[in-house]
């Protein structure tokens, strides 16, 4: 007997919508999730990612659209009839039940024979490495262990889909890295689909097969971690994915998607990612791609620099008052004058938003 997810092909969200009074928390979310896929819902707080998760779980009714598992429409079903697993941000372990009973609760609700429950609970306990603690109450174990119980409890019923609501946000940095690997390991082992809500792009990049970036209740971009990292589709996604430098620029000439533009007094080149027909553009680049060099087009002076072990990260200001985050292999001192530049393929250009 091994824990493995029930068979299904795909989960479809069709124009899923949720309003709170006059507020559109979710605006027509459409998405198809394949069996076995790990999806991260990524976005800043208030973007609607937890609302989306609660709608999928059935804890919040939709105000429009539909949810399908293969050919079955499920959005009218109560949470208890959907059969999804959920890991809550605060774990929501039943405080009066031992870990064994917590994990066995779902199977008990399915009225499985006691022998089956015992065997599966034992297996789930082994999966999250808590066999020795099985008879303790949740209050008697650490946060990381509680987290693992919550995961075991959600997956032991072999749900087709597991929903996770920022499950690592209450753990310390080291434990978070360990649990990240653990979550991915368990996901691969049981073969379910996972939807994982987070505001941490590192978590999303390292865990997910595909990332869905949400902002103000809308899907801004769906893509693999590589796509999102290298080619954010919009300036706001770029900002969220670590492109800390968003420079106002004026487009001059374009040739095969390669754009030449003026930033203050400097002239730089970049790739036009999002089509737009204005002269006002935004050039996005990561601090790690902006480095000092003798022929760098942007003249600036260092404001601050911090040592990061291998290299230095610093903040510099141009004569026009523009502030830039950069990386340097050699030590830099505050007040030092620099020339900064970035390879054109690492500078992404987006149309400026109408202010």
């Amino acid at each position: 007997m091994t824990i493995s997810a029930k068979n299904f092909r795909e989960l479809r969200l069709e124009r899923m919508r949720r309003d709170f009074g006059g507020l559109n928390a979710l605006k027509d979310i459409s998405l198809t999730i394949k069996r076995g896929e790990f999806i991260a819902l990524l976005g800043p707080s208030g973007c609607g990612k937890s609302t989306a998760l609660n709608c999928l779980a059935g804890l919040l009714p939709l105000t429009g659209g539909s949810i399908w598992v293969d050919d079955n429409r499920i959005d009218h079903l109560k949470p208890e009839d959907r059969g999804f697993g959920m890991v809550f941000q605060n774990y929501a372990l039943f405080p009066h039940m031992s870990l064994r009973k917590n994990i066995g609760f779902g199977l008990r609700m399915q009225k499985q024979p006691q022998a089956v429950i015992d065997a599966k609970v034992e297996e789930a306990l082994a999966l999250v490495r808590l066999t020795k603690q099985a008879d303790k109450l949740p209050g008697q174990i650490s946060g990381g262990q509680q987290q693992r119980v919550a995961i075991a409890r959600a997956i032991v019923v072999e749900p087709p889909l597991v929903l996770m609501d920022e499950p690592l946000s209450n753990l310390d940095a080291k434990l978070r890295l360990e649990m990240r690997a653990e979550i991915r390991r368990i996901h691969n082992m049981i073969g379910c689909s996972t939807i994982y809500v987070t505001h941490d792009q590192d978590e999303a990049l390292s865990l997910a097969d595909r990332i869905v970036v949400l902002r103000d209740g809308e899907v801004r971009q769906v893509g693999t971690p590589q796509e999102l990292y290298a080619r954010p589709a919009h300036a706001d996604v770029a900002e969220f994915m670590g492109y800390r430098n968003l420079l106002k620029a004026e487009a001059e000439t374009e040739e095969n998607g390669r754009l030449s533009m003026r930033v203050g007094t400097a002239r730089i080149a970049g790739l036009a990612v999002e089509p737009g027909n204005g002269r006002d553009v935004i050039a996005a680049l990561r601090p790690e791609d902006l480095t000092p060099s003798t022929d760098g087009p942007i003249a600036a002076s260092v404001i601050s620099a911090e040592y990061r072990g291998r290299d230095f990260y610093g903040l510099a200001r141009t004569q026009d008052g523009m502030e830039l985050w950069f990386r340097s292999d050699i030590p830099v001192q505050p007040g030092e004058a620099l020339r900064l530049g970035a390879p054109a393929e690492r500078v992404l250009v987006y149309p400026a938003r109408a202010a």
């Binding site: 779980a57 208890e80 774990y91 929501a92 405080p95 609700m109 209450n170």
Partner: protein, 310 residues
């Protein structure tokens, strides 16, 4: 090294003697702040412990034995069925009233905790408490009396032909006790219910538990200890019923509760010693019931009702 070890036994035994009295008291949790307990302690001693002990002393010096020490009062109480029967009369009233109040409070509290206008509803429910038993009884006499609105409406609607008797009997006292006891039960239970993390129920429903299973496996076990305490407090309140048993009951018959017996002895027969004895018996019965409930609920979960950290 060896020198230090040799010297140690010389100084060690002397150390405990040097600890001052205040330090030793502090180790047992007694320090200057403990003195802040004094006013409350005096209050309890003067207004509770002394009268209780004095009553107990009085009850052991029966009037008909000319104040000589003896168990005469207790013996005569338990040898007269008319008198000791009041214990059962009162229990028959207090236990169902308490159970009904709790049974009403739990589902209502479970509904109310999610309401946004919770405060308005709780204010309405609290009103009966502020009115007091006498005013409630007056109102009940007018409303449920033979010519009251309740009977008139039912008769106008031809539901009944003759007025239903709802006051001056057991039903009257029962209803009055519900009216005055419910808000108390409800507020206590609401606070227990609100203390249960809503994500626990959500987690249970994600695991396939319907409303009944969630109540049975999650809410009830987490509420258990709170319900036991509510039962005890509400029971003690109901067991000492007096005004409504007189005003809307039949104080010489089916609602001759133990408090009436005590009043009768002390202020109508002027046997203050016997009155004290009945009061002590009344307290004894309450303590026995509370002890049984507490003992029975000892196995229930009494930790925090939250789902984890954060």
């Amino acid at each position: 090294m060896s020198a230090a070890m040799e010297r140690a036994p010389l100084t060690a035994p002397a150390a405990p003697d040097r600890v001052s009295l205040s330090q030793r008291l502090a180790r047992r949790g007694l320090d200057v702040t403990t003195l802040l307990l004094m006013p409350a302690l005096l209050f309890v001693l003067a207004l509770f412990v002394y009268p209780a002990l004095y009553g107990f002393w009085l009850s052991l010096h029966p009037m008909n034995a000319n104040g000589v020490f003896g168990f005469g009062n207790y013996i005569s109480f338990f040898s007269d069925r008319y008198v000791y029967g009041t214990i059962f009369t009162t229990l028959e009233l207090a236990v169902p009233v308490t159970l009904v109040n709790i049974a009403l409070s739990v589902p209502i509290a479970l509904r109310v905790r999610h309401l946004r206008k919770q405060r308005l509803l709780t204010t309405i429910l609290i009103i009966p408490v502020t009115l007091g038993t006498v005013l409630t009884a007056q109102g009940m006499l007018n409303f449920y009396g033979p010519l009251g609105w309740f009977n008139r409406i039912l008769m106008t609607l031809h539901v009944i032909d003759a007025p239903v008797r709802l006051v001056h009997n057991f039903t009257g006292v029962f209803l009055s006790q519900i009216v005055s006891g419910f808000p108390f039960c409800f507020m206590l239970i609401l606070s227990y219910v609100s203390g249960i993390d809503p994500s626990l129920e959500q987690a249970a429903s994600m695991l396939g538990a319907g409303p009944a299973a969630r109540f049975r496996h999650i809410l009830l076990p987490l509420l258990g200890a709170g319900l036991a305490i509510t039962f005890c407090l509400a029971f003690v309140q109901a067991f000492s019923v007096f005004p409504s048993a007189v005003l809307v009951g039949s104080p010489s018959g089916p609602t001759r509760v133990i408090a009436i017996a005590a009043y009768h002895a002390a202020y109508e027969q002027y046997d203050y010693s016997m009155g004290s004895a009945i009061a002590i018996i009344m307290g004894g019965v309450q303590i026995i019931v509370v002890a049984i409930v507490m003992k029975a609920s000892a196995a229930l979960y009494r930790g925090p009702a939250a789902g984890g950290k954060g």
